[in-house]
């Protein structure tokens, strides 16, 4: 392939300066490429989740997602390795909408004043942690998300409150030619999927939720779990 400037890169007596500049330019590109590898690793979880394959409960459950949850991100510089930013907040709306849509016959995203629902779920992220192969000396990127789940009646009395710790890992060897970003993203996505899985498995076994499921119309009175 030829280009108007292509000949500048050949050494000849007529263009020694251009040749020198070309070499410097090449060196600069190499240095910049090297520095690019030292930059921060930023990942965000893709907001696509599979619909849960479970028998739906005949209830209308709303989910209230506050801004602290939907904008949640962790920015950290571990002692070993580069700066890392993991953004999970933007995926939370899709995560909880898909989750509740699969678990209940009706679900909706609600605001502060919810009407026409049997209950309102209010999830929040308490903490997000990660580890990299540089920190643990293993092949794995790992992500932990510690949620707090609160389930309210429509009159805003608490039905149950429980913690949920989700975990995801990704083998760096599966992404060895692509840098840290895809492996860390895969670990964060795995943690989000695990949050959905754990929620489905755990929900009906929480004593206060179990009691509420037996009679969703019962008034408040029982102490929260």
């Amino acid at each position: 392939m030829s280009s108007p400037t292509g000949s500048r890169w050949h050494r000849n007596s007529a263009t020694p300066t251009l040749y020198r500049h070309g070499r410097r330019f090449g060196l600069a590109i190499m240095v910049l490429a090297g520095l690019a590898g030292c930059g921060a690793t930023r990942v965000s979880v893709p907001a696509t989740f599979p619909a849960p394959l479970v028998d739906k409960l005949p209830l209308h459950v709303g989910v209230r997602l506050d801004e602290a949850l939907t904008s949640y991100k962790l920015h950290d510089k571990p002692e070993q390795g580069t700066e890392i930013e993991i953004e999970v907040g933007a995926a939370q709306t899709a995560l909880f909408s898909t989750l509740l849509n699969g678990m209940f016959t009706q679900s909706s995203v609600v605001t502060e004043a919810a009407t026409g629902v049997d209950a309102v779920l209010v999830p929040s992220i308490q903490e997000l942690q990660f580890s990299t192969p540089e920190i643990t000396k293993t092949d794995y990127f790992e992500v932990w998300i510690r949620y707090r789940m609160q389930l309210y009646r429509p009159d805003n009395t608490l039905i149950a409150e429980w913690p949920l710790t989700a975990y995801g890992q990704a083998n760096a060897r599966n992404y060895s030619m692509q840098g840290d970003q895809p492996a860390l993203q895969a670990a964060a996505l795995a943690a989000c999927r695990d949050a959905m899985t754990f929620f489905i498995v755990q929900f009906r076994t929480i004593p206060a939720v179990e009691a509420w499921l037996r009679d969703p119309t019962a008034a408040a009175g029982a102490p929260p779990a």
């Binding site: 849960p52 394959l53 092949d139 083998n171 795995a190 899985t197 498995v201």
Partner: protein, 230 residues
């Protein structure tokens, strides 16, 4: 010899050397071993499908590589006597959340329990799943010797040295019959091979395709096993 002619000769030599490196299919030798244990008869009717899944118990020290799982699935689903194979990510999404690391059945005895769930049983029947193939194992570098040094100067660059390393692949596939909820057999595939990289100016990699060889062997044997030919 004039300077221009000398430069042309050097350029031609470089081009020839690079071309030789790119064109020569240099591959090291690999030794394969495949073993099979059959516990029950197997057969596939038309419309039956199979899925190959990696064991992902957590936390894990040796998770099976994603590309190995897809390689085995590709081998099963391709060539002569191809078997209808569902790709792993598609299967995990279709059966979510029942084959996630937190919920995946640990042994074949758990399958009948899973099938008690009407939605799950209906989906499995819809996709025609007959056999679940769980793959365990990984490829490790077991030995590495030699050294290779590369340098770049204003006048050019090059490498000098000799590297050699040995890779060891060890995988085991366990086959479950979804309809009977029983384990029907196991196939193990082991491969060992040594790769070399001599370098005089240009490094010439002579790579032993250990993992792909283990994948081909396992895929071929699984195909025979599932069709009930042995």
């Amino acid at each position: 010899m004039s300077r221009g002619r000398c430069n042309r000769l050097v350029r031609a030599a470089w081009t020839a050397l690079i071309g030789a490196c790119l064109l020569l299919p240099l591959a090291g030798c690999v030794t394969n071993t495949v073993q099979q244990v059959r516990e029950a008869n197997t057969s596939l009717a038309s419309g039956d499908s199979v899925v190959v899944l990696g064991r992902r118990t957590r936390p894990s020290a040796s998770e099976t590589e994603l590309d190995f799982i897809s390689c085995v699935a590709k081998n099963l689903g391709g060539g002569a006597d191809a078997i209808r194979t569902i790709p792993e990510p598609e299967f995990l999404d279709a059966l979510f959340p029942w084959f996630e690391p937190r919920t995946a059945p640990a042994n074949s005895d758990d399958v009948p329990g899973l099938m008690q769930q009407p939605a799950l049983a209906a989906r499995l029947s819809e996709i025609g799943l007959r056999y679940l193939v769980w793959v365990d194992g990984s490829t490790q570098r077991t030995e590495q010797t030699g050294s290779l040094t590369c340098s770049v100067t204003g006048a050019g660059g090059g490498c000098f040295g000799f590297l050699t390393w040995e890779n060891d692949s060890s995988y085991e596939a366990t086959v479950w019959d979804v309809r009977t909820g029983r384990s029907v057999g196991k196939i193990s595939s082991d491969a060992v091979g040594t790769s070399y990289m001599p370098a005089v100016v240009l490094p010439v990699p002579i790579i032993a395709p250990v993992r792909s060889s283990a994948c081909d062997t396992l895929g071929d044997q699984l195909k025979v096993f599932l069709q009930g030919e042995t």
